[in-house]
Amino acid sequence: MDNPTPWAEAIHRLFRSHGVSVVSHVPDAGHQRLIELCQTDAAIRTVTLTTEEEGIALAAGAYLGGARAALLIQSSGVGNCINMLSLPHVCRMPLVMLVTMRGEWGEFNPWQVPMGSSTPAVLEASGVTLFRVDTAADVAATVDGAMSLAWQSRRRVAVLLSQRLLGAKRFTTESR
């Protein structure tokens, strides 16, 4: 099978170079390759969550413990995070979220559209700085800069990996 997300390796290399040692995730097809790379990396503790907001609190604890964390979620889970985002916001903690987008370009499941459409507004209203990537060539530079902003300026950042980038076709026989 060809690799549908060739940029996953680039993000994993950035995790290594930025010293990310805790990665948490919910099940997600778009992040599948990146999750596998993290799970097989002894330098990264990869934590599977039951719901996305657990990852916000986990990242806060990891920051308090002196580590860098990243959270891999899907746009449908962004709404679950709203109140928990108050924790890194009010404590001025760094937070890195990589969000695979659903409910946009080529979406076949109408239930994904509402949260996909409101994801940017929800994140910005919650104090998260947004970056969006539409092409594979832009993934590494965008994630690199977003993570630098998060650590160096202690900001909450989210990189939205667009459905155009992920390829809507690969989802047409899958549900979340």
Partner: protein, 215 residues
């Protein structure tokens, strides 16, 4: 069959049947934190945070003032990244119920240095003493065991509290203790609530002043 007979307690209200739990929460927390050494303490919002503050606010404390349901996961993040420190989450039954899924996540990760202490008065004490699910028999210790936290206990005597105090330091695996406490209100004892101050204070205590300021 009545609807109530489907409830875990068969529809009886323990507050009108079996005696209500009565361990004094301030005394319990003070005992648990006596000679606390290197214990890191994360609290849930509300009365649990006040109990820990009343025992003596400390640099290794991180009281939450919001983020309800997140205390155990903040504790997990600290436990995974500070394995040489015992990390104690002190929270209430309502806060733990809101983050029930985190027990499953912790049961999978099983950090040896994480302890969760649930101060269970079977009430939402901050908001008018409404009954929580534990008042109807929902058993948080059993839930924790079912999630893979093998050492999960329910405590209602001071002797057991003293044993728990030792286990907070010496246990070699994750544990969860539900302590049945009285529902009488205590005077407020407020910990600091400035987020950057609390975060920097804890990071500096763990990592040193210079690294504490750097992400």
């Amino acid at each position: 069959m009545t609807a109530d007979s489907n409830r875990p307690d068969g529809g009886t209200d323990r507050s009108h049947g079996a005696p209500r739990p009565t361990l004094p929460r301030r005394d319990v927390v003070r005992r648990l934190l006596t000679d606390r050494g290197s214990l890191i303490v994360v609290t849930g919002l509300g009365a649990s945070a006040y109990d820990v503050a009343a025992a003596g606010d400390a640099p290794l404390d991180f009281p939450l003032w919001g983020a309800m349901g997140g205390a155990a996961m903040v504790g997990l993040g600290l436990a995974l990244t500070q394995p040489s420190h015992p990390v104690v989450v002190v929270t209430g039954d309502g806060e733990m119920l809101m983050g029930l899924g985190s027990l499953a996540t912790i049961g999978v990760e099983r950090p040896a240095n994480l302890r969760i202490v649930v101060l269970d008065n079977e009430r939402f004490g901050e908001t008018g003493n409404q009954r929580t699910h534990t008042a109807s028999g929902v058993d948080l210790a059993a839930a924790a065991r079912a999630c893979g936290i093998a050492d999960a206990r329910t405590i209602d005597t001071i002797d057991e509290v003293e044993r728990l105090r030792a286990d907070l330091h010496d246990s070699t695996g994750p544990l969860l203790a539900v302590i049945k406490i009285g529902a009488d209100p205590e005077p407020k004892a407020l910990p600091p609530r400035d987020g950057p101050f609390l975060a920097h204070r804890l990071r500096s205590a763990l990592l040193g002043q210079a690294r504490g300021l750097e992400a």
